[in-house]
Symmetry: C2
Subunit: 149 residues, 2 copies
């Protein structure tokens, strides 16, 4: 079979009803770059070659808006979702320190039997947010961009 799959994931999505707290967490604690913000609807962040979208499900589950006369399909989940961010092995300990310094309790830390490490915290909405090294999925590390948290 000559199957083509998508090249990657470009939007990952979580839900939060308190978008200001969510913004503070993703922007100030995790250091993501804010791309857009619409009060009571969403805040969007850039992360590497993709974006992370945080929506208030109360807004997007009814109507997600319209573009050029086309209705954006609604969506909106309730309850804790999950996302994992890719961090360098060499910076894993710094992330642990940074989260603790920011007053974000580490809920779990796992050293996977097949390699790699994960730290788990909660965002203010209760979503399970993981910081994982690429080895968790047998993926290669890129090149650190040089900044240390």
């Amino acid at each position: 079979m000559n199957m083509q799959s998508p090249e990657g994931v470009i939007e990952s999505c979580l839900y939060a009803r308190d978008l200001e707290s969510a913004q503070r967490f993703y922007q100030n604690v995790l250091g993501l770059v804010l791309l857009a913000r619409e009060p009571e609807r969403h805040c969007f962040f850039r992360c590497g070659q993709a974006v992370v979208l945080i929506f208030d499900d109360r807004a997007t589950s009814k109507s997600a808006g319209e573009v050029g006369g086309v209705r954006i399909p609604p969506h909106g989940a309730r309850g804790p979702g999950h996302i994992a961010f890719r961090v360098f092995e060499s910076q894993f300990a710094l992330w642990r320190e940074r989260l603790t310094a920011a007053g974000v309790p580490v809920e779990a830390e796992i050293s996977w039997p097949h390699g790699g490490h994960s730290l788990y915290v909660r965002d203010p909405a209760g979503n399970s947010v993981e910081l994982a090294t690429p080895a968790v999925w047998g993926l290669e590390e890129g090149t650190p961009s040089g900044h240390i948290p």
Copy 2:
């Protein structure tokens, strides 16, 4: 500020209670590579330099398991979530044909005013699945790997 942000998203997550149907959709229709499967709990897929995790929330919201004596933090959302996959501009029309040929109705197609195109379908669990070209987020295209669907 000398802020370090994560390098990217490594795990994006959706929920589905019928994991067999979800597997067929992500593996056969979208062409993702199956990495792991645990009946009544999850199916995991590779997509580019990241993974897509489909969980049955009934399993993971109670207990997400244990590794080396550490409990994996539980999570599990209900209701339609959202994800977008990155596809090449040059293959956008082929994706539309492929989805239609697979009997997956295109719920919406949007040409964004600032550039880029999106196709929206539903996975069998009702999650909103988008195929988007990088220009939607002002991102650059990579190099097509050569296969045409």
